[in-house]
Symmetry: C2
Subunit: 635 residues, 2 copies
């Protein structure tokens, strides 16, 4: 069985990597961008449309507000990118908002940041996969019935790719990510060329269709809808923090490479967002149920040709692959939490391919549950999304304000250690603090807008879930503290340690080769061996007593104790006898029980045998002062 | 956890019975009839109708054949009842067809008889429960959608009642069984009184509606349909053999009580069958989709009054309770087979309430699968039914013919032992042999008719399943033989037994109270203790080496072996080290591994810890020459 298991694992995951190979598994900037930026880049496929879909409720005239709102969001992106570049440079070991908050704001804020991000990463997977599947079912409506199954299959595939290792998945994800970026940029560029009539190219603008709002617009409604449009556009910010968690996934110099990738990501995301928004508004496009803004734009600019299909196909691909950001960050953040004992310890173990298997599988499992619960409908999941990320931005930037304060207290040339990282004097600390402070204030305001505008649509779930998760993390931490205290040798007195009783109890159901083997073993340990037999029938008692005489070389000197019991359950009298010996003859000492265990050749054969040995072992586990010795006998 | 489990069991099943109480749990004749006869008695609810439904295809004139066919079946019942009374008297330990065939015909015929019966008992449960649920859904068509769930629920209830003990279930089943018998007998008696105009009562016969066959009737079709009508009526025979298996469930004198109950059952079943058939044919009733023959008869005889509803209600009840015959016989027959090592040994263990828990649960499980597979539609299951019973009749009667032959060879006053039972000289052996021989021939003919007429409708499944089950029983037997040989001490030479190596290997992941406890235990066993630590990081190695110095009283004299391994899997190098020690230093000897195991306080807490100890134990199970010692440490 063991061999088979190893064989299957080999085929699925490839040969295991030795630990020293870790450095070879690191990402270069090209793969790093593909693997960490698929989420923020993919959001451009729908961020502009999300804004316009809300504004259109105010009438087509209000669409003129799209560009200003987009600019505000781009400003926010700039602030956040700047802040995270600082984080990357100051925390080269990674950990993002969680580490920054822990180092500067304390445990509780760091747990809030971590919980918010964990929930967002899970949602990233559920939402992205569901959105990708929707792209497929739009093309093949017959597949709609199977959307949940298809989404789960996509999660299984993503899980598998990620379990094969970060470098390999980086390679797989690189092509669709860059193909999408190039496709959209070419479309935008060609659109601009034609729009401004450069090189003699011209673009016939479609006629403007005026849309008039169904209800009269009050001032309050106006402000509310503009805020909602802004909140909707904020999905463009999700995933920006990904690189800050994963600094250690980059080739050395880690933080420099990560920071450069961050800049590249910011530039690409902003160009796409700005470009798409500019074209969408200047081409007089209207959001519609039937066709996405991105699709309309590509069609207007260059017709339904090769470029159009290129953009459409890779949009679908990148929507699914955006889930990968979750696969990168959830396991990594979990491993940071596990290292600090806020998550199960197996979350920090790296598997055969040097990735955090436990976290990857836990993520796949929870995301699958959400996909099933929401029936793979990403529209109903979206209001839950982006909230967690915004909270983590706020906490991260607040933390950076504090860190800059600490740096400001240093003299030129001085260094200090904060507990997590080493800081040096920086001339520009005041400016950086100001920018981070502005970022913190702005993201707080945005967070409030998000909560208020999305609360009724489902955001309340996340508002509830974050503190619950914080509570769970703290409970896990308390458990580990408790265990560590209980195991600690600090106050251990040698006299406190249990003595070992000079007795061995060996339950037998019959006398055969397996029993003799166990008896021989027990006699090596002590002279005081007691074989205990529970009488199930007179015939069985006679048989045991007769066979007991057969090998006096082994059974000699061993006490054979036959116990009557008026029920058929043989375990209870055995356990009671062991407890009695422990309590009355050897109080406070460790009693040894030797179990002759018969190991059948196959799994099916197990079904044909009473599980007495296993059940007895399970019942004795509850007794601290009983040591169980398994003497196996193979057929 | 153990306490909770016991508590729940107590509430569900009641307090456990001591083994000596077995005799008090035995059945008197009244309960015995109720518990074993519910199946054969319940078949009267539909046997007459089954015959008429086939004959009507030949036109209403052919219904005159109903009574002759019923008489033929009653003759068959008489033969079989007579044969089984002989079986009960000659095999007072029970076992029915299986035991008779084993004792007189050999192993293979006995396994065929057992397999045929086991399959029929399972079908009894599936068919009866489904038929009962159909009675309910006929009254409440809205419930039709949930018929499978309701049938499964009924199986759960029956399982629960049967797990509570045979006497208690006998009491529960007595009322509906007798109420049904009394209701039908009163109806038939009152019908006869009115039909023959006794005591001045009169009965207006309904007008005869002539039914003309749709197709011309060829000679072949005529014979075929009469045979099919006969085969359909043979369902009246199912369950007749039940008492012969369960002789030991009766109060002493067991076989006398069982034989008397058998006679009572035969008389009741024949009166019901004869009475219903007589009334149905003489009242000119026609089988119809809308109303059962039994219902029509009750209505004609006494109108839609109290008696009518009585008969209808208890018909439904007894249809469901007929399943109970399966619950009585399957576990009992399985226990006979388990005693002879043809079934898993746990099938012969009696539970807290002195019933065969394993068999009851196995039966419930398989019957549920069939209910799900056939969507609780007993009509499609019926062709599978009665085949097995007829095969077992044939084998049982053939066996009795042989037994009577053995008895015939005895001198007056002489006794002999057949291997299973003791036989005495009997003056009438020749007559009994003749009757059993006739029975064997007739049931063989009926078996062939059943197979031929029902083969295409599903009987082929049973024809296939019986030999497959025989194969499985033999495979189980071979496995047990193999194990018994391997464990046997017959050819054991003391020199063959493995020596025990003077070495203990103790894997450690850290040095703490739990490790120290295990080390202390290991040092008690030998001076050659080796603590093995797999280096996962430099920091961990330093920590272990530092802590190792802390308690020289315990760690002194123990070799600390730190092994480097280039992958993260720590189990593989541990197992490899243990194998190397066994192979190179102590070849052919038993090596001991002491595992310090940390036992968390709750089940949830288990999730927070690496399952290293459990996984290591599982991997070492495959090594015959490794003894594992668990030293628990509770928090």
């Amino acid at each position: 069985m063991s061999l088979n298991y190893v064989g299957i694992k080999r085929v699925l995951l490839g040969h295991p990597f030795p630990t020293r190979q870790e450095i070879h598994e690191r990402l270069d900037k090209v793969r790093g961008l593909a693997i960490f930026a698929s989420d923020p880049i993919s959001s451009n496929a729908y961020a502009t449309e999300a804004i316009m879909s809300v504004l259109i409720l105010l009438g087509s005239g209000a669409l003129a507000l799209t560009m200003p709102i987009a600019l505000a969001i781009m400003g926010l992106v700039l602030l956040v990118v700047f802040s995270y570049i600082q984080t990357i440079l100051h925390y080269p070991d990674g950990g993002g908002a969680y580490t920054v908050a822990k180092d500067n704001l304390g445990v509780m804020p760091s747990l809030f940041a971590a919980s918010a991000l964990l929930i967002d990463y899970i949602l990233t997977v559920s939402v992205s996969v569901s959105a990708g599947i929707r792209a497929i079912t739009s093309a093949f409506p017959a597949a709609f019935e199977y959307r949940v199954e298809m989404a789960l299959l996509a999660i299984v595939l993503l899980t598998w790719i990620n379990l094969r290792g970060v470098r390999e998945s980086g390679t797989i994800f690189a092509l669709p990510t860059y193909a999408f970026v190039v496709g959209v940029l070419v479309t935008v560029a060609w659109g601009l060329v034609r729009y401004f009539g450069l090189f003699g190219a011209e673009l016939l603008l479609p006629a403007v269709h005026d849309v008039i709002p169904e209800r009269p617009i009050t001032n309050f409604l106006y402000v509310w809808l503009v805020l909602r449009a802004f909140a909707a556009g904020c999905t463009a910010l999700t995933g920006i923090e990904a690189i800050s968690n994963g600094v250690q996934a980059f080739k050395p110099p880690e933080s420099k490479n990560a920071a450069k990738t961050m800049v590249a990501m910011g530039v690409i995301a902003m160009s796409l967002f700005g470009g798409i928004t500019f074209m969408a508004t200047h081409l007089n496009l209207l959001p519609s149920e039937e066709e996405s803004i991105l699709s309309q734009m590509a069609r207007e600019v260059n017709g339904t040709g090769f470029l159009y299909y290129w953009v459409q196909f890779f949009t679908m691909m990148i929507l699914i692959l955006a889930a990968n950001t979750g696969y990168q960050d959830f396991p990594r953040l979990s491993s940071f939490l596990a290292k600090d004992r806020f998550m199960p310890r197996w979350m920090m173990n790296r598997g055969d391919r040097l990735v955090y298997n436990g976290g990857i599988i836990a993520l796949a499992f929870i995301a699958s549950i959400i996909v099933i619960a929401f029936q793979a409908d990403e529209i109903t999941m979206l209001p839950l999304y982006a909230l967690g990320v915004m909270l983590s931005f706020t906490l991260s930037q607040s933390g950076m304000v504090r860190l800059m304060g600490k740096i400001g207290k240093l003299q030129p040339g001085e260094t200090a250690h904060t507990g997590v990282t080493t800081i040096h004097y920086e001339r520009t600390w005041r400016w950086k603090q100001l920018l981070n402070g502005t970022g913190a204030v702005v993201t707080t305001v945005v967070l409030v807008i998000l909560i208020v505008t999305k609360f009724g649509e489902g955001a309340w779930l996340v508002v509830l879930a974050i503190p619950l998760l914080v509570y769970l993390l703290r409970a896990i931490h308390r458990h580990y503290e408790h265990v560590a205290n209980a195991l600690s040798m600090r106050e251990l007195q040698l006299e406190d340690m249990r003595e070992i009783a000079d007795v061995i109890i060996i339950p037998i159901g019959d006398v055969h080769r397996g029993t003799l083997r166990a008896l021989k073993y027990a006699k090596r340990m002590t002279d005081n061996v007691r074989a205990v037999f529970i009488i199930t029938s007179e015939a069985s008692q006679e048989r045991v007593q007769r066979r007991w005489q057969r090998f006096p070389e082994i059974t000699g000197g061993v006490q054979l104790i036959c116990l009557e019991y008026e029920y058929r359950d043989i375990l209870t009298p055995l356990v009671e006898y062991i407890e009695k010996v422990n309590r009355e003859e050897y109080p406070g000492q460790i009693v040894t029980v030797v179990i002759p265990e018969f190991v059948p050749e196959s799994f099916a054969a197990h079904l044909l045998h009473n599980q007495t040995a296993n059940l007895l072992r399970a019942r004795l586990r509850g007794h601290e002062d009983v040591v169980v010795v398994d003497v196996p006998y193979h057929i």
